[in-house]
Symmetry: C2
Subunit: 341 residues, 2 copies
């Protein structure tokens, strides 16, 4: 087994398989990686008929079915044993690859990886860690950004620890600071969940900064921001929505007069730079942490560039052995803090 073997769910995503296969080609042109493409053999062969990989290599893992974006996750995974997602997960389970990338039905990806690989020892629930650009010119990790809508304080502490490991190993930040997302920075703020979590975080073997507010999320106040998956999902989609609204407004304004058109043209590089910073495609995907194997979940509407960047992220995840380190730290977390449910 090559150390940089990654499974790709070719049929997962709003624009699959085209967008996924185009992203695979971009990655193969750039990275020394071996991609196992789970999907319909004929279709993939045809797409690759006039393509020759320059840097990476690939092989096809045939899969005759696929789980639709709107399908019931658990039913899809159980019934469609020859789906591209299940085959990609099997590829990891069998040791053919080490990380799975999918832009498909998020619920199905979570169910499938949990069933096939199992959750790590001393982890209650896997969580999604998302890179967010911040005002300090760096990236913060928002965890959980959508996997668990009802959480306990103990789970939040586990998310914090997994976020720290990811920030250290993949983002490359030393001793990352952790903030607990709350309605104010004072100690006694918040609902029952975060008040209880605050006490646990103080005991935990993490660099705990204290509470942070919504305005700190992009402010770079801390390297890791912890919240339950309900709040995280709303926060993430809201951030994207605000940015999109502002961009659309400026676009409309620029179209409205000659003066604005010229101004817009002159500022084009600046707008482009801004877009690059806030574009989710830059990071490609968000890892689902806490499983026995590695999984990168991509946005349903992932562009080829996003898929390419997800491959890069998966490579870093493997090279820096993020998953083993999560295992080590979760064991020591379990020993150092008594967190009864």
């Amino acid at each position: 087994m090559s150390p940089t073997s990654i499974a790709v769910d070719v049929m997962g995503g709003d624009d699959a398989p085209e967008s996924i296969l185009d992203g695979v080609k971009l990655a193969l042109d750039e990275y020394k990686v071996r991609l196992v493409l789970a999907g319909p053999e004929e279709l993939i062969r045809e797409s690759f008929s006039s393509y020759e990989a320059t840097t990476g290599s690939y092989e096809i893992r045939p899969a005759s079915e696929h789980i639709r974006m709107d399908e019931n996750p658990l039913q899809g995974v159980r019934k469609k044993k020859d789906s591209s997602l299940v085959q990609a997960a099997n590829s990891v389970k069998e040791g053919q690859t080490r990380v799975l990338i999918s832009a498909g039905n998020t619920g199905a990806v979570m169910a499938c990886t949990k069933i096939k690989w199992g959750v790590r020892e001393n982890v209650d629930r896997p969580a999604i860690a998302t890179h967010l650009p911040n005002r300090e010119g760096s990236y913060s990790i928002l965890i959980d950004s959508g996997a668990n809508v009802d959480c306990t304080a103990r789970q939040l502490l586990q998310f914090a620890m997994m976020g720290v490991v990811f920030s250290e190993t993949v983002t490359g930040i030393e001793n990352p600071s952790v903030g607990l997302l709350n309605v104010g920075t004072e100690v006694k703020k918040g609902n029952e969940l975060v008040q209880e979590a605050y006490e646990l975080f103080e005991q935990g073997p993490i660099n705990f900064h204290g509470n942070v507010e919504g305005s700190d999320v992009l402010g770079g106040t801390t390297d890791v921001i912890v919240c339950d998956g309900f709040v995280g999902n709303v926060a993430l989609k809201l951030s994207e929505g605000v940015a999109r609204t502002i961009f659309e407004f400026m676009k409309e304004q620029i179209d409205q007069s000659v003066r604005n058109k010229i101004g817009g043209w002159m500022l084009k590089p600046a707008f482009k730079q801004l877009k690059k910073i806030i574009d989710p495609a830059e990071y490609g995907g968000a890892p689902l942490l806490g499983l026995n194997e590695g999984c990168i979940i991509c946005h349903g509407s992932s562009s080829p560039k996003a898929i390419k960047n997800a491959v890069r992220q998966a490579m870093l995840f493997i090279e820096r052995d993020c998953n083993s380190e999560i295992g080590n730290r979760m064991n020591s977390l379990n020993e150092s803090v008594t967190i009864d449910e």
Copy 2:
């Protein structure tokens, strides 16, 4: 009693009393309103020594103390009986005025108004309703945006109804649509709270659109967006943070080259227009709904313009009798839907 008598907490706010008094003057220049200014008599007299109100009128309600922004809310209200906030609330209670405006310690404003005026019949908890600009060029109401961090489904339905009345009477929207803020638009999405709320919302006498996501908040998908105060507070501060981050980035970019400077100068009117739309000062304040009297809570850092706009909002609140209508609807809500706790 004049129908447009409003009490202003002169000492509440990060930049009080200057910012508040300047805002009061702007309002008195523009609106036919009678403002009762609760605060230190001498200080207010001095500030108004060279000022003559053209349109509105004012009187001073002496208050010798004030509750600091970082003070324990309940203790502040209990101990400082001659504070500007308590005096302003008394003014409403005694019928001297009909609405209270404060940019002070939000916890203290909530505690004080609840103690002095009481909560309306058939309302479990007052909630804060915030105007948010949306892509449709209108405003949506986000309720609760921070008063209650732990909520029940029954409370969320009450928030929905209060938001609807506010949207109808003050924003002027007919039969406002209601969205439940969730992690996805499908029926069975979300945590326990919102799943339970969904069922209640379907039974309620409201124009229920269904679940909405974070990206819908500024999308104008619904006129009213309902969530608990924890999620609402995070969402509100995050929106402001994203907008601020984008503005600061563009400002830095514009300063970086002559080309960008010229482009920025040409687009100045567009940026100004955008700022006007997303500026919280445009709406001035957010009403705390569900009390026996009217209360407008302003941002701690309110500018004079924000205070002026809060006065305008308070006038609309009185003229359109928003509070009586909330009373009527909450009674009929209580009769029409069985919502056991």
